[in-house]
């Protein structure tokens, strides 16, 4: 208790000190002539260097709100299919899993919402399907491929997906989005945002549902998946550059995670930021019942983070501190066995503290060197350290080359570390489980070939150590090392004023101690698309191809671990998505979209044919056609 008060006091003091200077600088409306003659602080001098955002130390891809709208899909995971190097698998209508450059098992990619982790830490799930945010609220998605642990910590193993929502200023007014289609597909939301003096606010509520692709295999499964979500955000601007925001999000879902779970999710975030400083407090809570209310699990996570950027000489230095406390509890709500009775429970807590430091040194206008390190303390794992270094060379404005070496670690989930089986007898954990490790080497280039064509290409080599065997019965063990190499190439092209497109290809192959060179993730993926905008009409068509792979861990429920009795083959598949829309005005758009237009019924996860008794099997994904209307006023 004393510790909490002390920490709260320090935080308050720091926050006050950071804010103090800004109270005096509240912006005042000036006249046009004052605008002409006012003094502007110098931003260019012989000693200052500017840092283009594109010169990042890691490979970053940005998916914009236009990309999301033009894709015509109903969930964010499907939007990300077009990104080279990303693996997306649909097990059920309400269950997509994500991997970056393989390891497609929901847990090795960190997904954040406005910088706040959306992990369910008890099982390291990513749950984009029932995240309390809808597509129309998203401004952009930044995908960082490769270990991003310097600033994001131990869950950013393969990469980071950062979902950035629109500000209330961008959402100003009221928007109603309605979509419905076959298979009882509904996606609807209402968003309202406004401003009063220096404050802005936004409110949203939404509902989405879809019929599952196949009938239930067991009584615990339901026919339809649905999500209800609500959110609110207020932002107060001290001046044009600094602000404080408070946001809350809630979602309630049904028929997810092997179609047997009903989770409730709550986020509350407080954030202060200005261009050179950020402080945030974040709380997320997940509660779910599953298996027809046989079990309940709840995990609560508190995070605090500070980040400060300094410019000095030719350097840009970022320094940060981070603290997290996560607790979880599992309870049997009914009699399960002789050993486990209704009311039996267990609870555990873990803490994570970290400091990170990264420096960018601009040798000259063409060469940038980056070095960074993170030191962390984690319950059950003690002290961890990692680093990242990169060299960026820009021979001209239209070309850049980057070489990056980065290390990362994957922190086992709370289930994997602490589940003793006192309430939930499966997926037993082990406190002696070590973290998984990765060292990644990547060479990438960007080139603007001419005014119409841009090229991005990269090759990488990843060295993995102590990969965890996620067995159903447990206990968990570190069982395997692996090496992986691959590459991606992407073209973005403009054909004429109204037609543009993209094409990308990704390749990866992995050699594991436990599975050898088995294609545990697709070796080949191709995506391509065309976008046409002519007057008030717009149309989009996207093609995806995924080569065959062998699933080793259950996509539908990673907690349950290994597919039994052996890795199961998933055949190659190809899909085409299309969308056509008409803008009656700036305020009204109507569209029709189809995903899997040619109805290539296929499995993306654990086909049941190989094991008809396996109720964790994925569903055969079919075609979805949706009509939508977006109206704002």
């Amino acid at each position: 208790m004393k510790k909490c008060i002390y920490i709260l006091g320090m935080v308050s003091l720091f926050a006050c000190a950071a804010c103090f200077n800004l109270w005096a600088q509240e912006s005042v409306q000036i006249t046009k002539e004052e605008l002409l003659f006012m003094e502007i602080p110098m931003v260019v001098s012989s000693s200052k260097r500017e840092q283009p955002l594109t010169e990042a130390a890691s490979s970053i891809k940005v998916v914009t709100s236009d990309d999301i709208r033009n894709s015509g899909v109903t969930n964010l995971a499907d939007v990300l299919r077009s990104v080279a190097g990303l693996d997306i698998r649909e097990a059920h209508a309400g269950q997509h899993v994500i991997g970056i450059r393989g390891l497609c098992d929901t847990s090795h990619v960190l997904v954040t919402l406005d910088g706040n982790s959306v992990f369910m830490y008890h099982a390291n799930h990513i749950f984009l399907d029932w995240a309390p945010v809808d597509l129309e609220e998203i401004d952009r998605v930044e995908i960082i491929k490769g270990p991003g642990a310097i600033f994001y910590g131990g869950s950013a193993f393969s990469g980071v997906i950062n979902i950035i929502t629109k500000t209330p200023g961008q959402l100003k007014g009221t928007r109603i989005n309605l979509a419905g289609g076959n298979r009882e597909t509904v996606r609807s939301n209402i968003i309202h945002a406004g401003a009063y003096k220096n404050a802005e606010y936004s409110l949203s509520a939404g509902y989405r549902q879809a019929e599952e692709w196949e009938k239930p295999d067991i009584p615990q499964e339901r026919d339809n998946f649905y999500v209800r979500h609500f959110s609110g955000k207020t932002v107060y601007h001290f001046d044009d550059l600094s602000s404080i925001s408070l946001s809350g999000r809630y979602s309630n879902a049904d028929n997810v995670i092997s179609r047997v779970c009903q989770p409730d999710t709550t986020f509350i975030a407080l954030r202060y930021e200005r261009p050179d400083f950020m402080a945030r407090l974040f709380y997320n809570n997940h509660e779910k019942t599953f298996w027809n209310d046989t079990y309940s699990v709840e995990d609560s996570n508190y995070e605090f983070e500070l980040l400060r950027t300094f410019r000095w000489g030719r350097n840009i230095t970022t320094f940060g501190g981070y603290a997290k406390r996560t607790s979880w509890e599992v309870e049997a709500r009914k009699d399960v066995s002789v050993e486990i009775r209704a009311g039996d429970n267990e609870d555990h807590e873990v803490k994570d503290y970290a400091l990170n430091l990264e420096n960018e040194y601009h040798v000259n206008d063409k060469l940038i060197l980056t070095m960074g390190a993170r030191g962390a303390y984690y319950s059950y794992l003690d002290y961890l350290g990692l680093g990242r270094g990169s060299v960026i060379y820009k021979p001209s404005e239209d070309h850049s080359i980057r070489f990056t070496v980065a290390s990362g670690y994957y922190i086992p989930s709370l289930f994997q570390h602490t589940n003793e089986g006192n309430a939930y007898p499966f997926a037993l954990g082990s406190s002696s489980l070590k973290e998984e490790k990765i060292i990644s080497y990547e060479l990438s280039c960007y080139s603007k070939l001419n005014k119409r064509v841009k090229l991005n290409a990269s090759i990488f080599y990843n060295d993995y150590r102590d990969l965890i065997d996620n067995t159903q019965s447990g206990p968990m063990r570190n069982v395997a090392d692996a090496s992986q190499y691959g590459g991606e190439i992407e073209f973005n092209f403009i054909i004429n004023d109204w037609l543009s497109g993209f094409a990308n290809y990704a390749y990866q192959t992995i050699d594991r101690d436990d599975f050898g060179r088995l294609e545990v993730d697709p070796e080949h993926k191709i995506n391509s698309g065309l976008t046409a905008k002519y007057g008030k009409w717009s149309a989009n068509v996207i093609f995806h191809y995924v080569s065959r792979y062998y699933e080793i861990y259950l996509t539908s429920n990673p907690v349950f671990g290994r597919v039994q009795p052996a890795p199961v083959k998933v055949d190659a598949y190809a899909t085409v998505n299309a969308r056509i829309a008409y803008n009656f005005s700036d305020n009204l758009e109507i569209a029709i979209a189809a995903s899997n237009l040619f109805k290539d019924r296929h499995y993306e996860s654990n086909p049941p044919d190989s094991n008809p008794d396996n109720w964790h099997a994925g569903d055969r994904v079919g075609r979805r056609i949706i009509a939508s209307m977006n109206f704002k006023f």
């Binding site: 002539e33 003659f37 955002l53 401004d139 802005e200 001046d239």
Partner: protein, 306 residues
């Protein structure tokens, strides 16, 4: 005959001398006590001197625009009863209009006097956007797409720019925003589609902080910025167009003499600056890999970052 010629000559000489012998009282009200205003006023005085005009000029610089200050200034004007009030800047012009009963008022250093309800005669300092675009085209011939932000109060500037850009082989990529807070996100989205960015005078969108931030972001993305005045160029804009303030002072003095000699204020109307100049930041040019010819550098009124 000689007597008549003599009388005529005497009257002619002395009619001029009447003006020069009689001291004219002028009250000059400055909205700001800054270099451009002082340069204009200084040249105004010098020009009158060169015309052998005896002018007693009382200078007043507005400090805070409080009611007390405005009251005091009105009192000064009433006590002096000047022949003419020279108002520099919109706040000064408004004050002069309120205070001057039956006193000639000439305003200058004002932007868009009509929308600010400043009555003629007035010499505004708006640089027509077509002038800026033409100059830009000659200085940076490779530039094709020019980004700009406008608000509901400056939509006319955007329309004017769009109208003439085609003739110059340029394309305006514009976005309406409502406040400086939207500037950051709006610029991030706009910068990928433009070759340079033009700041237009709009206090709804711009402030010292937001301009500083815009200049930083523009450098990060290698986008040249066209600023509003030399202070912008010094801060990091590649180039800024503005009036020649000495020339403006001379123009104001010519207009004042016209008014004092009986010129009809309504006929004099609104007029713009006769001479435009520009300033360059060569350090910014080097950083942005923009080539500026030696001839252009020589023409610049001020050059920073050499």
């Amino acid at each position: 005959m000689r007597i008549i010629l003599g009388i005529i000559l005497f009257l002619f000489v002395n009619s001029s001398s009447i003006c020069s012998a009689e001291t004219i009282d002028i009250v000059a009200i400055k909205s700001q006590d800054t270099i451009p205003y002082n340069t204009t006023l200084c040249e105004f005085k010098d020009y009158l001197n060169r015309q052998h005009m005896e002018a007693r000029i009382t200078e007043i610089a507005l400090q805070s625009e409080t009611q007390d200050e405005l009251f005091n200034i009105k009192k000064v004007i009433e006590s002096i009863r000047p022949n003419l009030i020279l108002a520099l800047g919109t706040p000064a012009a408004r004050l002069a209009q309120e205070s001057a009963e039956n006193i000639l008022v000439l305003s200058t250093m004002v932007l868009d006097p009509k929308s600010s309800k400043i009555e003629p005669p007035s010499i505004f300092i708006d640089i027509p956007v077509q002038t800026k675009l033409r100059q830009l085209k000659s200085i940076l011939p490779d530039v094709k797409k020019i980004g700009l932000f406008y608000s509901s109060s400056t939509g006319n500037v955007f329309e004017e720019a769009s109208r003439i850009s085609g003739r110059l082989g340029l394309e305006i990529v514009a976005r309406q925003i409502n406040s400086a807070r939207e500037l950051h996100n709006a610029f991030n989205r706009l910068c990928q589609r433009i070759d340079c960015f033009l700041i237009i005078p709009d206090s709804t969108i711009y402030s010292a902080k937001s301009v500083e931030y815009l200049l930083i972001e523009a450098f990060r993305k290698k986008i040249p910025v066209i600023g509003l005045s030399a202070s912008y160029t010094r801060a990091g804009a590649l180039i800024s167009f503005e009036c020649n303030y000495e020339n403006l002072g001379k123009q104001a003095a010519e207009t004042a003499l016209n008014m004092l000699n009986g010129g009809d204020p309504a006929m004099i109307g609104y007029s713009g600056p006769k001479e435009i100049c520009f300033s360059l930041n060569l350090l910014a040019a080097r950083r942005l890999n923009v080539k500026i010819s030696t001839e252009i550098i020589k023409e610049a009124r001020e050059v920073f970052g050499e």
